[in-house]
Symmetry: C2
Subunit: 446 residues, 2 copies
């Protein structure tokens, strides 16, 4: 069985903790059973393993999230990153091609596609197992999870089942309805309709037949290269609504979308995360602080405060939906990023009168990891090693560096660094323009 | 005429903008007539000049505030810094000795002592001029300003005048009452009592006679050296309440103590200062942001948000009095300071597992200023010049430095830097302990 987690989204509504490089599913805000903090993707992968689904896991994602997935989940999971953002059908089609060609899965392999960010419980994964069983026993070509609705929401898609029941308790699907009005949703609830949870089970061969309608390829690489030939359309429209043999397995239990600060804070175990002091007069107020400096909060009610290197949010919880429309004007560049080699945080970014910028970062490189051999055309860099040991390469010469050492890198100089132990350094970039794209990468044989 | 401004206080109630090194009177939050921002001390000195008092100005302060005063007021004002914090009587006694010995003022010189942080208007300074006239015409030895009360406050001292009036409108003082209950304050208002505004006018000789009761010195330096011989007592108790010839001049007009966020924000011209975006649903909310990163605020009512390198405050305005009791547990070290050579800001302060700390700062040195020739015993420093030009001295060798240059300073190495143009550099300190005291200073002939 193959589990495919869909991981996308820009996470604007959880600004300033989420940004283009760190979507909501990577925020380490949830409490794991051992008391440590985990992100949504870490939680959902942990829960899938605990449910003993015996599934191999693949993340269908985009290039911007690849490093976060590697950093948070290690090499336990496979990653298929689309070459450009399209929609859920192309993303799932690419993942199916990866399973078929690269992982050599058979046409009979059961594939379950699901979101990477549901806030849910073990029963959800037992439902996934039942969906897989229904596919295995040919109850339908496509089996969906139907969430038992708790209110007539306008936000979700609805699945209307027929009144009959298949072998293991799945129901044939009568029709789909997308985002109805509250009145229509009310009627749908009376009909026994379920929310579409975005979980789809099918045999790989079924999906590959649909893939071949658009791209008849002989390899994953070819499919990847021709990715733009897939239509920009959702899996629901392209596959689920066109399917002639489709069934639904209901799930009744905890299922929430932690997409706004209002819903996310309901799931937090503690009122504060990070360096925070609360006065005596706060009520239903959550403070999340990823900065070093302290936050003090008093006299607040139904408020969320969130601080990160990207900015500071102070918002009434019932207004937290509104962040999305403002965040584009707040976002300059990501001030914190997870990369496959570790993390960086911007400490200061100043432009001087003549247009030259100075950008100061703290960079943490995990033991054994390296930054690729590269040159910059428009900036000098000065690295001051503040913790750990590493190997620094400049113009082909390598030397050991440790705390207190300084690496001066001028424009056009070839350089790289590898961490022997966990390595921390302060980087000052000076130049114009200071952009990520001003990197030319070369090979270095460590 | 000599104006002596008293400048002290720790400014805890305006955390995180004020700290031990930057009291409230130095916060550049008020709007000057030309639209630029000014601090309370800049405003009060500007107003004193505009009132054409033709006075020379001396600040009686402590060592921690000396650099802020120089930085904000330049060399227009004299500074007398007490060697240790005692109380207002010793501070005024030291300032009187400075006027007498160092500035060679005569016994007949009129001295007016006043706080450096009143939020007031031109009439206040006209009242100061009338007080000086009363002293000049010998209406009394000591003339105080009495603020016409607006409510029966428990916070202030009261001056009860006699029902008679002197020549120019001053009234002899009948008695003083410190911080009465509301009921007593109510009775005092009926008696025509005035608030004690902390403004005192006297002839220098009068004050020097009191000084000599404690220290008979031949010079300012001797007085300074024997400073601890002055009793720790307020000027009100030691001088005003013991005086036999004391009068009061009333002032009716704007007079506020901007000592809490609640009162300070009432005086701000704009809802926001700095990089701030307000949503549509805020009410009576002020946001002051001294950080580079943006603050977004929505759905807040009667709230103050203040962000500085020291920390972040989110507080209901009517709770802003409570900050004081929490701030000691929030304060580690000042993260921003004004020095006579410029300013510094802490960007990051991290302690590693072995106890070694790394402190990253941005330092701005004003053109012509220098950091003294010094060594450190416990830390290395790396300076990366990001803007401007200067002269760097290392172990007796000097060289020009400019943008992109790096200065590596090891423990026990003699070093100094002087700005030719305004100079900005990023400093990384590495060592343990990282304390201001780890400086040994030497002379360098620039």
């Amino acid at each position: 069985m193959q589990l495919v987690f869909l991981s996308g989204g820009s996470g604007k509504r959880l600004w300033p903790l989420s940004n283009n490089a760190r979507s909501k599913q990577f925020l380490p805000l949830l409490e794991a059973p051992d008391g440590s903090m985990e992100s949504m993707v870490q939680r959902v992968v942990r829960q899938a393993k605990e449910a003993e689904l015996n599934a191999q896991i693949t993340f269908a994602t985009n290039a911007a999230q690849r490093d976060s997935i590697i950093n948070q989940l290690g090499t336990d999971v496979d990653i298929v990153a689309e070459p450009q953002r399209r929609d859920t059908f192309p993303a799932i089609a690419l993942a199916a091609s990866y399973l078929y060609f690269t992982k050599s899965c058979s046409d009979d392999e059961i594939v379950v596609v699901m979101p990477s960010d549901p806030c849910t419980e073990v029963g959800y994964f037992l439902t996934v197992a039942r969906m897989a069983d229904e596919v295995r026993h040919n109850a339908a070509d496509l089996v969906l999870m139907g969430i038992t609705p708790t209110y007539p929401s306008e936000k979700y898609g609805y699945i209307v089942p027929e009144k009959t029941t298949n072998t293991a308790g799945s129901m044939p699907v009568s029709r789909f309805t997308e985002k109805p009005t509250v009145e229509v949703a009310q009627d749908l609830l009376h009909e026994g309709a379920l929310w579409n949870g975005g979980v789809f089970a099918f045999k790989l061969g079924y999906m590959m037949n649909i893939v071949r309608k658009y791209i008849q390829a002989a390899s994953f690489e070819e499919t990847y290269a021709r990715y733009t030939e897939f239509p920009k359309i959702s899996f629901d429209y392209e596959v689920a609504e066109k399917a002639t043999s489709v069934a639904v397995v209901p799930f009744t239990g905890k299922w929430k979308d932690l997409g706004t600060w209002n819903t996310l804070t309901e799931e937090l175990s503690h009122r504060t995360i990070g360096n925070v002091l609360l006065g005596d007069a706060n009520d239903n107020t959550h403070v999340i602080n990823e900065l070093e400096v302290p936050v003090f909060c008093d006299g607040m009610k139904d408020t969320v405060v969130a601080c990160s290197p990207d900015g500071i949010l102070v918002c009434a919880k019932d207004k937290s939906e509104t962040i999305k429309k403002y965040v584009d004007s707040l976002t300059l560049r990501p001030m914190y990023e997870e990369r496959r080699w570790g993390t960086y945080k911007v400490l200061s970014d100043v432009q001087y009168e003549d247009g030259t910028r100075a950008l100061t970062k703290t960079i943490k490189l995990r033991a054994g990891k390296n930054i690729s051999y590269q040159i910059h055309h428009h900036r000098d860099e000065v690295w001051t090693i503040v913790d750990g040991e590493g190997i620094f390469v400049l113009n082909g010469e390598s030397r050991k560096v440790h705390r207190g050492d300084v690496c001066c890198i001028r424009k056009e100089q070839y350089h790289a660094i590898k961490a022997i132990t966990d390595l921390v350094f302060v980087e000052v970039q000076i130049g114009t323009p200071l952009v990520e794209e001003d990197i030319e990468r070369f090979d270095w044989n460590w």
